[in-house]
Amino acid sequence: MSASPPTSEYRRREQSITLSPLGEQLEQSHDEQQTSQELLTLNFGPHHPATHGVLRLLVTLRGEIVHDIKPIVGYVHTGIEKTAEDKSYWKVIPVIERMDYLAYHFNSLAYIGAVETLAEVVVPTRAEYLRVIHMELNRIMSHLVWLGTSALDLGAISMFWYCFREREQINDLFEMSTGQRMHTRYFQIGGVAEDVPVGWTEKLRGFVKRMPSSLDQYGDLLNSNEIVLQRLRGTCALDAETLLSLGVTGPLLRAAGNPWDLRKAAPYSCYGDFDFKIPVGTVGDNYDRFAVRMAEMYESVKIIDQALEGLPEGPYITTDRKVALPPRHELATSMEALIHHFKLVTEGLRVPPGEAYYPIEGPRGELGCFVRSDGSSKPARVHMRDPSFVNLQAFSRMAEGSYIADMIATLAMLDPILGGIDR
């Protein structure tokens, strides 16, 4: 300021104002904040792109550090388990596929497996192979959505386009074999709805040939990316014992070093026929969770390749007319076929009374379906043990004490599907 005297009354008053007491106040309050460490409760979601659905989190923060997380779910509860009790066995399949909407083939197999156990249905080998091919394609598709959206949460948008490019090819394959891109209703009690069309296996062979190099490309983009490594390595680790006590299964448990995979441990369907590895991590941090899922996609491609090579000839659905519909051409010539068709379509199949729990390895962990039959043509209880629902319990333990930005990355690595959590 120049030393010239003030020209007016106003200017003189202006010069007399001093800001130094204000600055002292600011400094004082800053010191107090550092000593008292106020807790801040932050509402996160339900409508937030990083929650991968309609998940709401009540996050308690100490500064930028996560103190506690309370997940609040139920926003997309649609009562599918209740709806299933009001439908005949084969009509349950389309609704149950809509639970975990990225793992529809797994949902239907868990349910169908339970019903087949109760009704003692023998499934032809070709149907088992076709089921495995579709499930492993589904697993790759689910992991691709996970990879694309997780990379988005870390700030990399191009991964999203690359992942969805390959996902589209899988959806095209589903559309060709089943008529639908998602929620295909392809698996039926006793087999699959239809044999694969001419040209499908060639198209799938092309995909199997291309996919490993696409996965290599993703690896090249991410595996040595400094930002990805710094965001993932050493963050939010949890040991296998704690994970097990919280019921966590699937890639999250394998990332912590426990090689539990139902496909190997208790082979269902025809998984015993294939040669594949179970990728495991070492410390169970976010990087291991990422790396295990990346490696799993290669193994899934290997399973599809072997299933395609060994795909046996034969019927694609059981010939038991009390379980599966007769072929269309028989209806014109056979009275019995007509009666069976009529009974199955109007009333549905009757399942002997009993209870069954059928667990399979979904993309997110143990997907088990409990079915209770009372002997009628509708299930008396259908319950899905959804891995996302159980795994979410471990989220608070994983993210405690980490930065809020790492919490977002952990949520992405947890891969919760809210349709499966809320059912």
């Binding site: 779910v73 139920g74 709806t83 006590s245």
Partner: protein
Amino acid sequence: MPDATALELIRQELGDAVLDTSFFRERATLEVSPQSIRAVLAHLRVKGYAHMASLHGVDYYPHEPRLGVLYELLDMSRVDRISVKLRVPSDAPEVDSVTPDSAEHGGWPTANFQEREVFDMFGVVFRGHPDLRRILMPEDYEGHPQRRDFPIGGEPVIFTYNESPILEGAE
């Protein structure tokens, strides 16, 4: 699955706690009295069934005791499963929670959300549960929708066109 003989041996070890056993389609089920559930699960944990794969509810309407809770246990080293079932009457649906305590002290932390779901859907009260609130239905919801006598579609769906008559009728 333990075979039928092994299941009977487990029954003998547990004594009076077991009300019934069933072996159906390779699935071994122990039906136990509700009071003994924590002791039974602790015993099975020592025998190797240390992982609780799932916990879910069933409504056996119209039979009493009506409400069932099922615990699916898994032995990961022998790859063996056993399910434990208990049934409580609908007029006093109470059972001890297995959630409290960490795994080392005989608790099953994985049961937390799943017991809340059974409470929400069937109205079974888990005594001692740390946070027994509804989980999937809204907090102010009345009734337990998965019970067999709960009507499906019994609630009017509110759209824009019928919004006001329904709300006015409620007042």
